[in-house]
C-alpha cells in the first residue's frame, strides 16, 4: 500500500510538472518583429487595411502607360485602392508600376513632405534601394519599382512620366 501511495505521489508530481510545461508553452509570447502589428490589426475595432472610400483599383488602369518599343505593361493586381502592372522587356520582368490610394495609409503620403524634387510639379522621391514614387493630387501615390538593376532610378523617372499624372490628380 505504501508503495502505491508513493507511486501516486510521483504520478501527481509528474502530471503537475507536465501541466506547467504545457501552460508555459501556451503562454509563450510571439517574438516576431511583426507581432505588435499582428496584435494591433486583429484587436476589436481595428482599422481596416483599406479605407471604405478608397478608389476602386479598376479606376486606376486608364492612367497607366501602355506597352511600347519592346516593353510590355501587363496588369497583375487590381484591389480596392490599388492597381499594379508588371513591366516586361523581351519577356523578362524588369519592374513594377503601381498606383495606390493613400487614403488608407496616410503615412505613405506624408513621406513626400521631405521631397526636394518634382515631376510635372508633383513631389518626387527615391524610396529605399529600388523605388521611385510621385504623389499626385496630394492623394495618389504612383511608384516605379525595380526588378532588374538596368531599370535604374533614371529609367524609373522616365516611366513615371509616362503615366497620365495630370488626369489622375483630379480623379475623385
Amino acid at each position: 500500500m505504501q508503495q502505491l501511495a508513493h507511486w501516486r505521489k510521483a504520478l501527481t508530481a509528474l502530471l503537475l510538472s507536465l501541466l506547467l510545461v504545457v501552460s508555459v508553452g501556451c503562454s509563450q509570447t510571439d517574438t516576431s518583429p511583426f507581432a505588435d502589428t499582428q496584435q494591433e490589426s486583429t484587436e476589436q475595432g481595428a482599422a481596416p487595411a483599406v479605407a471604405d472610400d478608397a478608389q476602386k483599383g479598376g479606376a486606376f488602369n486608364r492612367f497607366f502607360p501602355g506597352s511600347e518599343g519592346g516593353y510590355d505593361v501587363v496588369f497583375a493586381q487590381e484591389k480596392q485602392g490599388f492597381a499594379e502592372a508588371k513591366l516586361k522587356h523581351e519577356g523578362e520582368d524588369i519592374g513594377l508600376l503601381a498606383i495606390s490610394d493613400t487614403i488608407s495609409l496616410p503615412t505613405a503620403a506624408q513621406k513626400y513632405e521631405s521631397s526636394t524634387e518634382t515631376l510635372e510639379g508633383y513631389p518626387l522621391l527615391d524610396i529605399g534601394d529600388t523605388q521611385t514614387g510621385v504623389l499626385v493630387g496630394d492623394r495618389y501615390q504612383v511608384k516605379a519599382i525595380s526588378r532588374d538593376p538596368a531599370f535604374d532610378a533614371q529609367a524609373r523617372r522616365e516611366w513615371l512620366q509616362k503615366f497620365d499624372l495630370a488626369a489622375l490628380a483630379v480623379l475623385e
Binding site: 511583426f34 502589428t37 490599388f82 520582368d93 513594377l96 495606390s100 534601394d129 529600388t130
Partner: protein, 296 residues
Amino acid sequence: MSKTIYQYVDELPKGGITVNALKSLDVLLPGKWENLVGFTDTIKALTGETDETMIQAIGDRAVYLFNDKSEGYQRAMWLYHTVDSASGALGTAAIANQISDNIPLLGNLVGKVTPKPEQAQSLDLAVKLVAEIVAFCQINGIPGDSIGDFLEALADYGSEAQIRMAALVCFDGLVPLGAPFIEKVLQTVHRAPTDDLEKNPTFKGIDEMIPGEDIGSKRNFIGESVDSVKDWMGSFIADNELTQDKVLDTLSSAVEISKDKLNYAGAFLDIAVKYYAHTGTQTLARRLIERSLAEI
C-alpha cells in the same frame, strides 16, 4: 484564422518530401523555382530592399492586408490548404481500393462504396484547378468567376505559381492517369454521376467557394475551367516534353518511391506531397509583399 501570415511563411519547410518532389519537377522545366521560406527573408529576396526599417514597414503592411478579411487573402490561403488536405483523404481511399484489388471479396465490397480511383482522381484534378482559379481571383482582386483573366495570367505564371501548375499537370494528371489525362478529366467532369461529384472529398472540401448556385452550375463551372485550360496543359506537356516515365524517373530519384509501384504513386503523392499549401503560401506572400512595397 489562428495562424499569422508570418507564421505560415516562417513554417514553410526547406526540405522534405514536398520540396524534393517539386525540385524533381523543376529540373524538367525552364526557369528556376527558388524555395523561398521565412517571412523576412522572403521580403528581402522579393523586394531587393536591405534597410531594416523598410523591411519592417513592408512586413507590417502585409500583416495588415492579410488580416483584413475583406481583402480575400485569407480565403485564398484557406483554399490552398483545403484542397491539399481534402485530396489527401482521397489518397487514403485510393490506397484502400488498390489493396482491395487483390482480395476479390473485399474488392467488390469496396467497389460499391468508393468511386473508382480514376474517376476520383479526375475530379480531384478538376477541382484543384478550380481552386487555383478562385484563389487567383481572390488574391488579384478579379471577380470570382473570371476564367478569361486567369488564362491571360497563366501564360505569365512564373516561379512557385508555375511549379504549382506543373505539379497539377504531372502529379495529379500524368502520373496517376497517364498521357490522355485531359480527355479523361473532361469526360469525368461532364459525365460523372452527381452523387459521385458531391461525395468527392476535394469537391466537398471547397464546395462553398466554387462559383454556382447549385451542383449543376458548379459542375458547369468546373467543366468550363478544365475546358479553357486544356490547351494550355497540352502545350505545357508538349513544350517541356513531359511524359509519365520522365516524371516518375525524376520523382523516384528525389523521393522514396519505386517505379514499379506506379499504381500507388498517385495516391502517395496525394497523401505526402502538399504542393498546393506550400507553393500557395509562397504565391500569397509574394502578392502581399509586392502590394505592400508599392503602397507604403
